[in-house]
Amino acid sequence: MKYTPHTEADIAAMLSFLEKSSLHDLFADIPCDALCNKEMKLPPPLAEMEVRKRCEELAGKNVKYSSSFLGAGSYRHFIPSAVKTITSRSEFYTAYTPYQAEASQGTLQAIFEFQSFMCLLTGMEVANASLYDGSTAVAEAATLAMGETRRKKLIVSQSLHPEYREVLSTYLGTGERAEIVPLPHKDGTVDIESLKSLVDKTTAAVIVQNPNFFGALEPVQEIAAIAKSAGAISVLAVAEPYSLGLLKAPGKLGIDIVVGECQSFGIPRGFGGPLLGFMATQGRYMRRIPGRLCGKTVDKDGQEGFVLTLQAREQHIRRDKASSNICSNEALCALAATVHLSLIGRKGLREVAEQNIKKAHYAAEKISGIKGFSRKFKSPFFNEFVIQCPHDASRLIAELDGKGIAAGVDLGRLYPDMKDCLLVCVTEMTAREEMDRLAGALSELSAPAVV
């Protein structure tokens, strides 16, 4: 299939206008003998129905589990049909970045509304138009904190998502840029005594996640206060923002910067991408926030409108002194989240969150009631929890995979001392029968491995 309109006649007319005899003449500048037309192994063109067949064949080789207890930063939530209706409007998805504001008021108002939603959820005064994902948002927050405090020490909770910690390490862990200090966890949440002893006047930021990677609820207010007492910036990462349907807004608890992931709001899991990172901060960090910001203004006639603003922070103006190099972000995903949150609304956010926590507790109780299985941590949790199993979680997962159940995440892959631990996620999408079936399958396997 080709998408170019040129007929032979068109090409002939245009070449004639250009006084060239062939298309290749247009490339006369190129040292073609050296460079052009090398052998490339590429397939022949396909008709649209052949393309569809090939893709469907590849999609068909993947398993869509009817019963999935996988979370760990990528969540199965219900997405109302109307979200797709809006994001598949080509006026939105084939639009460009709204630099020409007068031709982009739709995109810009949607961004303004997204920023507003992020502020409402987190209790903050400023939020940007999106970042790539939760992990890079954490790295950007750390950079902001270091620039703002002119300090280098980053205290990073070990109950922060391992991949987020890896990314932070890639961005800032080499050379002399930052000093990354791990903050251990105790019974599944941040070890507060450790935090108190680690934080000092060289600390730029304290970075924790809530609910954390284990699903546990952290003492956010206390952590914020400890950071503040040393003049450090508190950064809270939220990978499961539906938790904000029940939890107090971090901005009201003394947190300085909230970052995280909004994939839960209207974005399919998509094998890990695209995702939707966000950053929301107290007003005083407005000028340091990376990424695009949409602001309200007026036009020549005094009519309300929206523009990208404070662009002097960004790469296209500030170049090597920019707060970040980010250019393309996750705009269409932000639109999806905006529409999703508009549909869910005040009541829906609460109700979905309540179903998540109640169903998760049902599952946790049921599973920990099976002989040999127990909850690893006593700490309160939202929609994920860790189960200690009678043998390696990996074996268990493999067995249940055969039954069409994705039982959870093998924590042994990420925490060497937790090989017998399974991270289980339950959402409003998880039916009671699914949880009962999981419990049933686990009890069949609960006989310990033969030594």
């Binding site: 007003g283 005083r284 000028r287 404070l310 662009q311 002097a312 103006i317 500030r318 002194k321």
Partner: protein, 137 residues
């Protein structure tokens, strides 16, 4: 102080020295080049700098420019009208447009207690600055 009595840097800043306190701002030419000024990133009172150190930035809608101090010394005062936040709170009297409208008066940026009067000798007189930017004094 009158424009003719001030001194100028090649980076288009003016310096008005009274005793050992130098007031610093940007010239009319500079504000014209920058366009509508929207924000200033400033040092803190008490910070010390060498001559020609970068002390902050001046932002307009379409560009950002470094702000240098033509003389070395200690910052003793900042013009509250050019600060968007004071003491961590939003400043209701934030008027960055002063740099455009009245660059030599209300648009002053900071006052620095100079550490070495010799620093003044490298600066241009009004006549020399005007010649530099290609205009008659």
């Amino acid at each position: 102080m009158k424009r003719e009595d001030m001194h100028y840097s090649k980076e288009h800043e003016w310096v008005a020295l009274e005793g050992d306190i130098a007031t610093i701002g940007i010239t009319h030419y500079a504000q014209e080049q920058l366009g509508e000024i929207t924000y200033l990133e400033l040092p803190e009172v008490g910070d010390t700098f060498d001559k020609m150190a970068r002390v902050g930035t001046i932002e307009s809608v379409k560009t950002v420019s470094d702000l240098f101090t033509p003389v070395g010394g200690e910052i003793v005062e900042l013009n509250p009208a050019v600060m968007d936040r004071i003491g961590g709170e939003e400043n209701a009297d934030f008027h960055p447009e002063n740099l455009n409208k009245d660059p030599y008066g209300e648009g002053w940026i900071l006052k620095i207690k100079i550490s070495s009067p010799d620093d003044m000798s490298d600066l241009l007189s009004y006549k020399d600055y005007m010649a530099m930017i290609g205009e008659d004094a």
